[in-house]
């Protein structure tokens, strides 16, 4: 049982981690394409039209991986987390069902229309279809984040003693539970950052081969501007408000991600630190030299008292090292994205961006780092929720299926690991190929002239 549980947790982490590489790109990219296709429709300029075609193919490729890996997620709740499904199905299950009815149909149907309809349907239909893909993807993110938020900060339920499960009492309270809106806006802006870096990295890759490409200059500018705005929004106000909410609603997680071990008022903000778990403490920490900064950030009061890890019962503490490191990596990467985008915009303003080969390379290298940042944020959020599957209601240890033998879970774990590794390699290979599509300098020059 314990082996099966551990393997199920590992499988869940691997499958959802792999899946979560793709939606941030498709959600962000879909919204950027809404703009690109709008320009293509309204101006009719060949650069915008070709930009739409190029990124539609890349969207399709990324979407296929997201769909393929996403189906696994829904079924895993039933196969590996049967006790969880029974316990929260009344609430959590319906949220997933809403996602399917309202969002999945919308995005997948209109994606088909968007990809295959070009040339068959009027241009405005193409635009509407990409808009619906973006709307569908966003609604999908909304419902899945509602479901996740409910695990973090359950609300609107009562515990039924007879059935032994959490049951819905107030639907709106369950949907708009305390962490829902902060999480949604933080995640959505993060998706925009990912989408922008994806578009910018493709443009950078192509501009390094042909600095005169009009198509790529246009997408680069679009991505940089939207990226700059969203990389600020992801930190402030959305990230900040989200962290404040965690401090209020899940104090154990907050103490763990901030590396706060002793309860104190006027708590300082730790910028770097080495986590030691036995006994829990930070070694060689670097603090931001403003007294009471963490207290002020969390509660708007530099003297506010924040509870440290050591004052929580030992069996209610999340893993300390992983949460701290993931959270801090996310923050550092977020700062790097802002800096890089700022530098790129300066170079753009000085009209030197197209030939700044090193800067373009930095944008390409940073693209995967935006996905790393979303993964780190997700790890901080979900590992920080432990040891609970549903905060203070159901322990992860009690959530797994009891009849599935460990060997079967091991089998599926290996199976998915192998398949996902292969898919990732193929995806990157095809991405590079498709990104360079139509990049013969002569052809590009002709387009610019036209």
């Amino acid at each position: 049982m314990d082996d099966a549980l551990f393997l199920s947790r590992l499988q869940f982490a691997i499958t959802i981690g792999f899946h979560f590489l793709f939606p941030p790109i498709t959600i962000g990219l879909a919204w950027l394409l809404v703009f690109v296709e709008w320009k293509a429709w309204k101006t009719g300029r060949v650069d915008w039209v070709n930009a739409g075609k190029l990124f539609a193919k890349l969207l399709a490729l990324t979407f296929a991986l997201g769909v393929a890996s996403g189906i696994v997620m829904e079924f895993q709740f039933g196969t590996n987390w049967a006790e969880y499904s029974k316990y929260v199905g009344d609430i959590f299950g319906s949220l997933l069902a809403f996602e399917a009815v309202i969002a999945f149909f919308l995005e997948s149907t209109f994606l088909g229309l968007y990809l295959f309809g070009r040339g068959r349907v009027p241009k405005w239909v193409t635009w509407i279809s990409v808009l619906m893909v973006a709307v569908g993807a966003t609604i999908s993110a909304f419902w899945i984040l509602v479901a996740n938020s409910w695990q973090q900060t359950p609300a609107g339920y009562i515990l039924n003693e007879t059935t032994g499960r959490a049951e819905l009492q107030d639907f709106m309270a369950a949907v708009f539970n305390p962490s829902m809106l902060p999480r949604f806006f933080h995640t959505m802006t993060a998706c925009l950052v990912c989408g922008c870096f994806f578009m910018a990295a493709v443009a950078a890759y192509r501009l390094r081969k042909n600095p005169d490409s009009g198509l790529d200059r246009k997408t680069m500018v679009t991505a940089l501007v939207v990226g700059m705005v969203s990389s600020i929004l992801v930190a402030f106000p959305t990230g900040h408000v989200h962290a404040q909410q965690v401090a209020r609603t899940q104090p154990e997680k907050f103490a763990a991600i901030e590396g706060l071990y002793e309860t104190q008022s006027g708590a300082p903000l730790v910028a770097f630190g080495l986590v030691k778990t036995q006994p829990p403490e930070l070694k060689a920490e670097v603090r931001v030299p403003i007294p009471g900064l963490l207290s002020w950030l969390a509660f708007g009061d530099p003297d506010a008292e924040i509870k440290g890890i050591n004052d929580f019962p030992e069996d209610e503490r999340p893993p300390l090292w992983l949460t701290f490191v993931s959270f801090h990596n996310m923050v550092i990467l977020g700062l790097w994205f802002q800096l890089l985008l700022f530098l790129a915009l300066i170079q753009l303003w000085r009209k030197k961006l197209w030939t700044s080969r090193k800067l373009l390379m930095a944008i390409i290298i940073t693209m995967p780092l935006t996905l790393a940042a979303t993964q780190f944020g997700w790890v901080a959020a979900e590992v920080g929720r432990q040891p609970w599957a549903v905060y203070k209601l159901l322990r992860t240890a009690d959530a797994g299926s009891v009849t599935v033998p460990a060997e079967q879970v091991l089998f599926s774990l290996i199976l998915f690991s192998v398949i996902y590794s292969a898919l990732l390699a193929l995806y990157l290979f095809l991405l590079k190929r498709e990104a360079g599509h139509g990049l013969e300098p002569a052809a590009e020059a002709k387009e610019v002239a036209a």
Partner: protein, 342 residues
């Protein structure tokens, strides 16, 4: 709305979603099964692009069916998942292979590349269709669920002859469905070959269908007892099945591919209807003495949850049906390959 009304409605809706999945994704699984039985690359691309704009939306029917089961009947979902652990993992693998093969296959000219994804796509389709049938057969037959609502069998219990017969019948039915769809979407020689396959599948299907009925009468007599206890609905679906099965080969012979397609769709729907009528309100019968039989009335979500779900479905499903119908209308007619094609 009473709790019973909502439970009945959601039992019905889950059957509708699964039947809808079988009809819609069924034809693209069928197209997948025939994928290797083609003459050249052009024909294979015709097959892929015939389902290109639709397959992803079709698969959502399965996701929605699964989601609705999770939401409306969590204890049933919690028994179904662990019981069919390995089959579900294999099914997911098959669906992953299908999805990426469609997207990847035509990206490179290389023969080996295309051949690999052709096989992955085709085998993925076949395995998925087979597993659905085997799972359905096991559910109909009943499973060893104990008093704690836990499955007490192992993986190999699932591979009983009855369930396997169900699986094979499902494969043949979807192969027929896929061939009829391909005939609708293509012209000339390919279309004629596909219509020929429809008729051949029909013959095999008739034999298997008769076997399934005989075997059910012997192995799971309660199915017939329940069905005869509800004569009006049973007669309705039986007549639909009869009409569809009789007209199908006539339509195929007369070169009316779309009629043949409607008939195979009708056959699938009638099949789900008959199973639903014979099972309601049971989802998973227990084959154990003193075991728990999972049913819509005893293992559902709360009235409040079912009411919210009913509201969302009442508004959402018609909208989904409208734009789904819209996209099928836009891409009606024969497949044409252009530079956006797979």
């Amino acid at each position: 709305m009473t709790h019973e009304f909502l439970q009945t409605t959601w039992f019905l809706l889950i059957f509708v979603l699964l039947a809808g999945y079988a009809v819609l994704d069924g034809f693209d699984l069928g197209v997948g099964m025939w994928h290797l039985f083609t003459r050249d690359d052009h024909e294979r691309r015709l097959g892929l692009n015939a389902i290109g704009p639709f397959w992803d939306g079709n698969e959502v029917w399965l996701l929605t069916g699964g989601g609705a089961l999770f939401a409306a009947f969590p204890p049933v979902y919690a028994v179904f998942g662990p019981t069919f652990y390995l089959p579900i993992m294999l099914l997911l693998t098959a669906l992953i292979f299908r999805a990426v093969s469609l997207e990847f296959r035509s990206k490179l000219e290389s023969r080996a590349w295309r051949q690999f994804f052709d096989w992955a796509f085709s085998l993925g389709s076949l395995v998925a269709a087979l597993l659905f049938g085997v799972a359905l057969g096991n559910v109909v037959r009943g499973l060893p669920i104990d008093a704690e609502q836990l499955y007490t069998g192992g993986f190999f219990n699932l591979l009983n002859p009855y369930a396997l017969l169900f699986g094979v019948t499902g494969v043949v039915l979807l192969a027929m469905h896929g061939a009829a769809y391909m005939a609708c979407k293509t012209e000339g020689d390919l279309r004629q070959r596909m219509l020929g396959r429809v008729v051949r599948c029909w013959v095999v299907f008739l034999v298997l269908f008769a076997l399934v009925n005989v075997y059910t009468a012997v192995e799971v007599p309660r199915m017939f007892n329940t069905a005869f206890g509800r004569p009006v609905l049973t007669a309705l679906f039986a007549l639909l099945a009869l009409a569809a099965v009789v007209y199908l080969p006539i339509a195929a012979r007369k070169d009316k591919a779309f009629h043949a397609f409607l008939c195979s769709a009708g056959t699938i729907l009638a099949g789900f209807g008959l199973i639903g009528v014979s099972m309601f309100p049971t989802f998973i019968p227990s084959s154990l003495e003193g075991g728990v039989t999972l049913s819509a009335f005893e293992h559902s979500s709360t009235k409040l949850t079912l009411t919210w779900m009913f509201g969302v479905a009442a508004v959402g499903v018609p909208i989904v049906l409208v734009y789904t119908a819209g996209i099928y209308w836009i891409f009606r007619g024969k497949v044409v390959l252009d530079d956006h094609s797979y």
